[in-house]
Point group: C2
Chain length 227, copies 2
Amino acid sequence: MRIAVLGTGAVGCTLAAALAASGHDVTVGTRDVSATMARSQPDRFGNPPFPAWAEDHDAIGVATFAEAADGAEVVVNATGGTASLDALAAAAGDGELADVIVVDVANALDFGSGWPPSLAIANTDSLGEQIQRRFPRARVVKSLNTMNAAVMVDPGSIAGGDHTVFVSGDDADAKATVGDLLREFGWTDIVDLGGIATARGVEMVLPLWLSLTSTLGGPAIQFKVVR
Amino acid sequence: MRIAVLGTGAVGCTLAAALAASGHDVTVGTRDVSATMARSQPDRFGNPPFPAWAEDHDAIGVATFAEAADGAEVVVNATGGTASLDALAAAAGDGELADVIVVDVANALDFGSGWPPSLAIANTDSLGEQIQRRFPRARVVKSLNTMNAAVMVDPGSIAGGDHTVFVSGDDADAKATVGDLLREFGWTDIVDLGGIATARGVEMVLPLWLSLTSTLGGPAIQFKVVR
């Protein structure tokens, strides 16, 4: 499939590389290509700057949000959650992302009071719903936001993959397509929570996930729904 | 130990029975003993009315909130989360619940917009924190709110008990005592999240838990933290 991954942080790069490795035609989208390609410092987590990553992944294009999304069947929102609506508006350009599957993996974290962050959207709304309302003709699927980027694309790296990923969305066909992409990554326990309003639940898991990464010593943790 | 369980719903009754079965001296607290003992209809989940339960558990006393809490080393808050501060104030009477371990298992659900409920407290505060602030001399431990009552006291009923319960609280000794009570129920994976502020995380899990009970067909589900 032709897939645009919006966002050049660790999540975007990790997803783009894994989707390309699965055989998809992947372009990474960024607001300002020149600025992105001029980065020379590691990010705050110590990941190499984007140009170094891009050099190692030369089959993956780098373009503006709009160029990356143009003609893409799937747009992955891997931008920071508080900037996602603007990024998607740039990606839509003059269009409406009509029929496009928007896979929203973002979390709208509010660091205004320091660590741990609270959520910029919570409880009676969610980023997933905001994206769906802003782009009513897009087919938004919330998924993968409940874990670290490395785990998203390699579930087998923890407990042999015996844990759970969630999908939320109003369009059954879009969720089925996202399910296929998740299975390519190795996911076996994919739980369909229902409509996009159920994105509230998975977004509100983040504070617990952050506590667990602190108390258990790192991001290599995951939730399994036992039943 | 001498334990007061505040609340006569399914959660309170289930916890009271299990704590008594573990050998503790348990009294159930309610706002109005006469009204509680006059109930004749099953609750909205089909559980028998409280007097029928009380007749089957005649070693467990029934008293007002204040009488139940008087002299108790542990007070379990199993009241509805939006009524919990009032119930605990009644339990405290002229005192401050000083040194008492308050095990808060409640969720402050807001049904004002129907189903699914939102949370009456979320994101930048939690019921656990509100209780600790209101009773600064109490030792509040949030736990068990992330699951169905039957699972709280019988973790082995799902997946042989291979799943996780969380504790949050500022007092290490109080968390250790609650850990002992949880082990009596059969819990083996008890994760200490940190201070009472981490109650935010476990309280915000409720919307996902509710979605899962809908999509997976019932409340016999649980979270396991894999790592």
